[in-house]
Symmetry: C2
Amino acid sequence: MPRFSKSVSALRSSAIRELMSLASRPDILSFAGGMPGNELFPIDEVEELFRNLDTKTKQAAFQYGPTPGLPSLLESLGGFLERKGLPVKKNRLMITTGSQQALSIFARAFVDPGDRVLTEYPCFIGAIAAFRACGAEIVSLPVDEAGIDIAMLRQEVENPDPAKFLYITPYFHNPAGMLYSTNRKRKLIKALQGRDIPLLEDDAYGDLWFSDEHREALQPIKAIDPEDIDVCYMGSFSKILGPGLRLGWMLAPEAIYEKCELIKQSADACSSSFTQVIADAFIRSGRIDTYVASVREEYKRRAASMVKALRSNLPAYVRWNEPKGGFYIWLTLPEGADATEILKRAIEGGAVFVTGSTFDPQGTRNNTMRLSYCNNTPEEIERGIPIITRAIREVCG
Amino acid sequence: MPRFSKSVSALRSSAIRELMSLASRPDILSFAGGMPGNELFPIDEVEELFRNLDTKTKQAAFQYGPTPGLPSLLESLGGFLERKGLPVKKNRLMITTGSQQALSIFARAFVDPGDRVLTEYPCFIGAIAAFRACGAEIVSLPVDEAGIDIAMLRQEVENPDPAKFLYITPYFHNPAGMLYSTNRKRKLIKALQGRDIPLLEDDAYGDLWFSDEHREALQPIKAIDPEDIDVCYMGSFSKILGPGLRLGWMLAPEAIYEKCELIKQSADACSSSFTQVIADAFIRSGRIDTYVASVREEYKRRAASMVKALRSNLPAYVRWNEPKGGFYIWLTLPEGADATEILKRAIEGGAVFVTGSTFDPQGTRNNTMRLSYCNNTPEEIERGIPIITRAIREVCG
């Protein structure tokens, strides 16, 4: 047996791979993935944008670029982020290979095997994977409909063996679907100030709001720019252009950025210049704004279909959120219910979703389930939801 | 100060960033980079290939793909590698974000802080960075014109605290330029067999041979498929299509592959589908073969210009290799000479190269220098080499 490193020896394959192969079967309706709909990608626009680039830019697309990103994209993206109120000039911006790489780099920057890190429960599986790969011990604090449990967070920041960071996804949470309230963010800031626990703020879905009234709650903590907290902000082109480009970003204070750039250099030298050139043109042409506006409407339509189907079919004992944006609806079943058993029956009926235990760093709590509406037409949603609600009734009564 | 992880706390910025910014100044002739010439990229061919793809494939380009790579590319690349005699079916193939990511993944799979790893001296800087980022203690064994020092390797494999792996770049070495002899490979295999020290074989330049007569020496050790060694082979599209696509690959035994796939999933989920779709079309159309044949000729022409310029201008006390392929010529100055002083004077004259200490994991030995001919026209080479040889004479007499 090869002599693997300690943190890697402990890594075990997750159930996600198997689930995703199920999800790609044409005879199964999948509400499992967090993938944008294939038919929504701006293919023609991107082809046209690329065709009209000058030769020098096209050559740059094939060439190595600087580790932090192509200067032109750093500039255009910086402008895009400044329009959201983010303090771009006071920090350093870096392009990453998807925001997954930002997570991986932050984990490597801070975590030695056995170190404690704080996350939400439920928690984005990509974060669980990135933290585990560094040997982190994950302590997860529950979220309700307005954000993370502040009492538990206060307890954790008093711990004499302080966690290396707190990771949150406050804006249309994956998988919990919810949006942090302004008040909850304020309390979170207060709990962290002066504690030497950096905040990793993941904002992959914030652009996908369904109504203007939530704009205030969408202000990133990084944009509030609180004193005495190292806020490391990250975002992604995956939901506002296409995940296949593998482009995300991090905006971090100088001292943290410096280490992250060295890790990035060692990890993949730079992100794809080819897709960076495309993202830059997409921003500079203004297409990003019209495109995001159009997918916002489409996801809103899909969410409404799923809400309608759930309202008609879901037993009253299931708690769930009506989404204000993003991709997900999170169902909480009665205590002790087994989402894995429901999944089995749903698959037999021809529909698939992700069970809650997948998003539990401890891998135990399983009376929850995530439904995605991002990758289905309203018709598919109308057909698929009754299969799932029937499976719930069969298992939970 | 943020509480960084142990291996990251020790990371220091390399001189490479500064050098590369010098190298991009239009008034300086750069023989520093390992970048293909911008004017050589197959831009029109790739645009045409992309335009002619069907809608489903274009959609897949924007979408997430499986962590190991798009199935169609794994198939076409597998065929490409089998034609080189590589045992693709007996191993597992994975697409990586440049071969830099393959290095980073292997390092993370095997290295705990303080673990010893074996490299060549001189050694590819990307490998030094990847190993350092995991806290490796690098033990470097010198190469001569035929390969690594076998006596020293034999000593190392007897070490009671055995190294985690041996990393080599046997085919048109970066930076040493040389090609391992068949005999040296045979001895290396014998030294490693049954020793539980995996071999990381980096073959980023092997396709860029200048003459058919070296084809035998170019057979990868992975293709020889020796018993009782875990050979992990890696390659890259950077030199045979474009580094800006950020696509490389690893071919590894199942048990090692399994861990690597988990690390890859946590590192960036998958490599760019967009550029994978392009690489797949490039292979399937046969363009890769005509393109590689054409750049081979061009690099051969550039190498010949540099050889000619060095023959006319270099003092006799400088030892160097006449390249048989790849991108580099490696100069060895008299013992005690300081390549950094030569670099300073060369920059004043308007030319830049990379000093040997950059490729020394210990960062001390500095009587060597790397000249790249890949990114310069013969005219630029004729103008630039005398600037560098003059600087050598000024410093070394």
